[in-house]
């Protein structure tokens, strides 16, 4: 029976890639394990292996083709003497990966990501930020105030912005170095440190063994002496192994030493859910770290904020938790082209001005908030969307000012509801904006369950645009 070979996914978040090269020709016999083709993303190259014996009857996607969607049939293998036309190139999608997509090996698991965001987590997410224009045109006026008018803007991904921020700060200060798992020779598990080893060498780009507790402590100890470590966690889920040093050693020592011993360190890495990686790799720690005095907590959404705030974090004399998001890594945004673009920590940004309701969010939560705002505008509700950017210190003032104007507020985050960031905003509004509220503040959050693996359940566990719209309508009594 003829079998379709499908474009494999290199990672849970990959959506498309380039078919770089065919290593077999039409008519070649193939057996299980033979390498048929090479595929590429911006991060990795992988080989496509045959899993059946037969003949490579037909190549459906020519080599050099870019943007081949995952699960697209790329070739047909037939049994000896069988006609290629017998192959069903419309094999049911659900079965497809099991047929042809080689399971990513252990090395590639969770690491070889494409920059494309998943579209699997929400019903209505666009397929990809393939059209950066749709994002670019949301670049709000208030951002402009943070750099001179007329500044040239370049489009770059959050990934590139983070890398540039580190590289620029490392060029300027020898005390800055980056350490973590796979940051050097592998070029970063998520390719955030790409090229840093080549530029700065192994002294300043340090691959560590898989020992989060130990290297977090080493980073903090080094910071006590005045070095400025950037400690990358492959994900913040793994920082649980190291949280004692983050909280007890990094956050508290300045106070416990009566101001003698500062700890200028940045802990950074992806936080929260990626796609289909299960409960232990999907936790959102925003609320946890934002609970701790002695830390500053940053969770940017745009590439511009990622760059300006990471540069500020590296220069800051305090321990910083810099929460990134894997799905945002590949998204593109306009970033000001400046020699030294640094943003203030602790300032929220009105991302979209509006008059009827205030939506407060941060990090990937902003994607739900902005899409909801757009949909609501079509229904005559103008939402003001505030990107907190920094969770600690929290810029309550910007939120309160907005709520004084709109009288209504909805918070959006992927984290759990209890004691979450939204809960904090609600509490602050009770105190600072009670008399201005026309409706109770509502929260849209991740569901109060460990993150499930199944695609449908995961989608249910995360917030979605419809929930944001519903909450906004509720507070607007519409």
């Amino acid at each position: 029976m003829a079998t379709d070979i499908l474009m494999p996914a290199l990672s849970p978040t990959m959506e498309e890639g380039k078919l770089a090269k065919w290593l077999k020709n039409e008519g070649d016999p193939v057996k299980s394990g033979d390498v048929l083709a090479e595929i590429e993303t911006d991060k990795a190259t992988m080989e496509v292996e045959a899993i059946d014996e037969g003949v490579l009857a037909k190549i459906l996607v020519a080599e050099g083709t870019e943007g081949v969607k995952v699960n697209t049939p790329i070739a047909i293998i037939t049994a000896e003497g069988e006609d290629a036309s017998a192959a069903s190139s419309t094999a049911p999608k659900a079965d497809a990966p099991a047929q042809a997509a080689p399971a990513p090996d252990m090395q590639a698991e969770g690491q070889a990501k494409t920059p494309a965001p998943t579209a699997k987590t929400t019903d209505d997410a666009p397929k990809a930020p393939a059209a950066p224009a749709t994002i670019t045109n949301k670049a709000p006026a208030p951002v402009m105030a943070e750099f001179p008018e007329g500044t040239e803007m370049v489009t770059m991904t959050v990934r590139e912005a983070l890398r540039d921020a580190m590289a620029e700060e490392m060029r300027g200060d020898d005390a800055v170095f980056v350490m973590g798992e796979e940051v050097a020779e592998y070029q970063g598990a998520y390719k955030i440190t790409q090229g840093l080893l080549q530029e700065f060498g192994a002294r300043r780009v340090v691959d560590t063994p898989i020992t989060e507790h130990g290297f977090a402590g080493i980073g903090v100890g080094a910071a006590f002496t005045g070095l400025r470590p950037i400690v990358e966690f492959m994900t913040f889920n793994f920082a649980m192994q190291a949280i004692d040093h983050i909280i007890n050693s990094a956050a508290k020592t300045l106070y416990m030493s009566g101001g003698q011993l500062g700890c200028p360190i940045v802990f950074r890495g992806p936080n929260g859910a990626a796609a289909r990686v299960g409960a232990q790799h999907s936790h959102d720690y925003s609320a946890w770290y934002s609970n701790v005095p002695g830390l500053k907590v940053i969770a940017p959404y745009t590439a511009s904020d990622a760059k300006g705030l990471l540069k500020a974090a590296i220069r800051d004399p305090n321990p910083i938790i810099f929460l990134e998001n894997e799905i945002l890594y590949g998204q593109s945004f306009p970033v000001p082209k400046l020699d030294d673009f640094v943003l203030p920590i602790g300032k929220a940004r009105v991302h979209r001005p509006g008059t009827d309701v205030t939506i407060v969010s941060f990090s990937i939560g902003m994607t739900y908030a902005l899409k909801a705002a757009q949909a609501l505008a079509e229904q005559g509700i103008e939402a003001e969307v505030i990107d907190l950017r920094t969770l600690r210190p929290m810029d309550t003032e910007t939120v309160v000012e907005s709520v004084k104007k709109t009288g209504r507020c909805v918070t959006v985050e992927e984290g759990f509801p209890q004691s979450g960031v939204g809960a904090e905003i609600v509490a602050r509004l009770m105190v600072d904006a009670f008399d201005y509220l026309d409706a109770p503040v509502l929260r849209v959050t991740g569901k109060d369950v460990p993150m499930p693996y199944a695609a449908n359940l995961e989608k249910l566990a995360l917030p979605n645009v419809a929930e944001v719209i519903e909450a906004v309508k509720a507070v607007c009594y519409r």
């Binding site: 130990g214 402590g217 030493s257």
Partner: protein, 351 residues
């Protein structure tokens, strides 16, 4: 408790190395001046800790208070082999280390009493004191945390190529923590200049070494990483200094970490509230009578160096005066200004 564990608690197991405490034929000798220095330094710790115990009993010191009495030779011997600039970091039994680093007894005692003149302005307490000036990096209350932090100090030394060495202390209890081995691995992998000093005082709180450790020879704890180690008579300041010199030279020369297991003994309980039901009074008094680190030096000063009793008495009086002054200061210094509650949480950003 099963029989095997019970068997592990026999007296002989609890005093594994009496041999080490007997003066070995090749015991290194101190000059008169070195012995006088060691005597003064150790006596200062002893008297300071006795006073701290007293103030605790009077309710002037709160919370936890872990005394170093009995272990003085370890930190003094180590300091005699280190040079200015070398960093020191330890766990919660830290008063002795601070005094050995040259920190002001007044500032240490005032921190114990929670006063504004304390090293941390009264905000750290017994377990959390630091001195950048004296290269003392704490004072850490989480058992084992200082080992990774101390390895980080050594990482910084290697990064800066400053020739300094990190002296990272831990107890026999901390030596069982996982991060210790993560740190050992990286320290040897990167050849960091760190000396790990395991102060084996035989009890982690009330749990004897034999009841907590599968490998009770702590000098072997680095074997799988290729880190050299040795057991040292930690009651004799001379053997401590000699081993320390060897270990520090190894670390400073770029050879990587070194482990010293200091076989020592704490006379007092784990903390002030320790009933000490886990050991006999005889065991304690035997150590005091036969292996007291200070008494051994005192005897040597008189018998070998011919120092007149009167001179030692003068030293005793001077130390007592220092300690009394510290206690006086620490009990009369005002408490921190209430405004201090809100300071030192974050540093001002320069950007």
């Amino acid at each position: 408790m099963d029989a095997a564990t019970e068997a592990g608690q026999t007296k002989s197991d609890l005093t594994p190395s009496d041999a080490a405490h007997a003066p070995a034929p090749n015991t290194p000798q101190f000059t008169r001046d070195e012995d006088l220095h060691a005597y003064h330094e150790m006596l200062l710790i002893r008297r300071f800790e006795e006073k701290a115990g007293q103030l605790y009993g009077m309710g002037l010191i709160g919370g936890f208070c872990h005394l170093y009495i009995g272990q003085e030779a370890v930190v003094i011997g180590m300091q005699m082999a280190s040079v200015e600039g070398d960093q020191v970091i330890t766990g919660y039994r830290d008063h002795g280390h601070m005094l050995a680093c040259g920190m002001d007894p007044k500032g240490v005692m005032a921190e114990l009493t929670g006063r504004r003149g304390g090293y941390s302005r009264g905000k750290g307490g017994s377990m959390h004191m630091f001195s950048r000036e004296k290269q003392f990096f704490g004072g850490h209350g989480i058992v084992g945390a200082q080992v990774s932090l101390g390895t980080g100090l050594a990482f910084a030394d290697a990064y800066k190529k400053n020739g300094q060495v990190s002296l990272t202390y831990m107890g026999d209890g901390a030596a069982n923590q996982g991060q210790v081995y993560e740190s050992f691995n990286m320290a040897q992998l990167w050849k960091l200049p760190v000396v790990y000093v395991i102060e084996n005082n035989r009890y982690a709180m009330g749990t004897s070494v034999a009841r907590a450790s599968a490998q009770t020879d702590f000098s072997k704890r680095g074997i799988s990483f290729g880190i050299p180690g040795e057991q040292v008579d930690g009651m004799d300041v001379r053997t401590v200094r000699e081993a320390a010199a060897r270990a520090i030279a190894h670390a400073r020369s770029g050879e990587g970490p070194y482990i010293l297991e200091m076989q020592t003994y704490r006379y007092r309980g784990h903390s002030m509230s320790d009933p000490a039901k886990y050991r006999t009074k005889d065991e304690v008094s035997k150590m005091r009578d036969e292996h007291d680190p200070i008494e051994m030096v005192r005897k040597r000063l008189i018998d070998m160096h011919g120092v007149p009793e009167a001179e030692l008495k003068a030293t005793d009086a001077k130390v007592r005066e220092t300690v009394n002054d510290a206690a006086e200061f620490a009990t009369h210094d005002p408490e921190p200004d209430p405004a201090e509650l809100w300071t030192d949480i974050l540093l001002e950003s320069r950007a």
